[in-house]
Symmetry: C2
DNA sequence: GATAATAATTGAACGTCGTTCATATTATCT
DNA sequence: AGATAATATGAACGACGTTCAATTATTATC
């Protein structure tokens, strides 16, 4: 059969791909994006330096793959937070879960935002989709808070609220040196969500 | 005089420092943090490669210096927005000014957050101070909105609101490809501030 | 003004990085 | 078995930040 060889080849290549992603995932989780080196990666995977580039175009592609896994874990963490939380506290639960994820997986979480593709290379669609899926987690809580709102407006609102929470977490974790002790950061986040929820309630009662 | 030589030496060194900061500032403004290269810098400044390291410990120190200038410009932009804005709209004016600054000076603004010191090196105090001064710009508007509040609480609130606005701007400008058209981003920001202001009003009337 | 002592400047060289590609190796087909 | 094609390899390349022996300029001493 003329494609057995091809099949075997692609299978082995797929195995190598997975192995490299696994190792890169652990490296980034332990030492951050800057800790990922092609040579170390090859050594850890037991393959040649050049072999990396038979599995991926470049390290950027590999990093995107790792980031996609991080996004998936983050999604699961947010979903778990939504399960045991009644509708009124869902937004707070999500914000807490986001902060907790960023804290417990800080290097991986940072990699989501630190990594930049070279000028001009567009973000792959599958990655953009994975990113946008995050915002959807806010849609259900928002729908119960604002029953009448248009779907588009709600989606934009979800993005806005997510971004706001992200901003507080990102700047709060920025510099650990004598800056924003853990409890204060959690309190800041709680304040933010409380204010936003109050604002939403006010608007929804005013303009039904 | 035994210190004339020293004085002349330090003066020339200071001149070189300023020249290098100027050039780095323009380079970052035009091509971003990644566009700053030691060799290009030396060529543009008309000095030897090694001369850079007689003026600065390393490029990180130079970048911090450039970022300090960016922070100063940002401060001035926020102050200008506060001048022609009555108290009730001050928060919105600040948010708009922040978005506008990020838009018109995007590479410089990005450099503020992209740049990271190597593991273990603490942020210099003078830089941390410059950063924290930013949050103070929110204090006056907040004081007029919440006359009774404790100063510490107000400062924390300023930080929180600033971070939230930053989050919306940062994620909104992240990927220009088919993502958040300019007008929508401005609208998102306006929504955020409106919701937060409404939440603040509600709290202040409830708990005086 | 000549000469020794000292400070400042230089750019070749070092180590590290991501990436490539001629070569060696292995697998497949006749 | 030998010819042929796919695959794997790691030395080599170019770019990077940084260093430091060697050179040049400056100051001090006579």
């Amino acid at each position: 059969m003329s494609d057995t060889r091809t099949e075997a080849g692609t299978e082995r290549r797929a195995q190598l791909r997975d192995r490299l992603i696994d190792i890169a995932e652990h490296t980034i989780a332990a030492h951050g994006l800057a800790g990922l080196k092609a040579r170390d990666l090859a050594t850890a995977a037991g393959c040649a330096l050049g072999a990396i580039y038979t599995a991926f175009d470049d390290l950027d592609e590999l990093i995107l793959r790792v980031n996609a896994r991080t996004l998936a874990r983050l999604e699961r963490a947010l979903d778990a937070a939504l399960i045991d939380a009644d509708a009124t506290q869902a937004l707070e639960a999500l914000a807490r879960a986001y902060l907790n994820f960023a804290r417990t997986e800080e290097p991986s979480w940072r990699a989501l935002f630190e990594h930049r593709l070279p000028r001009g290379t567009p973000v792959p669609q599958w990655y953009a989709d994975a990113r946008n899926r995050l915002f959807n987690r806010l849609d259900a809580p928002l729908a119960s808070l604002l029953p009448g709102k248009d779907e588009m407006i709600r989606a934009a609102l979800a993005r806005t609220l997510f971004s706001a929470v992200h901003g507080v977490v990102a700047l709060g974790l920025e510099e650990k040196i004598a800056d924003t002790p853990p409890a204060l950061l959690a309190a800041q986040l709680e304040t933010l969500v409380r204010l936003l929820a109050a604002g939403l309630m006010m608007e929804s009662t005013r303009l039904p």
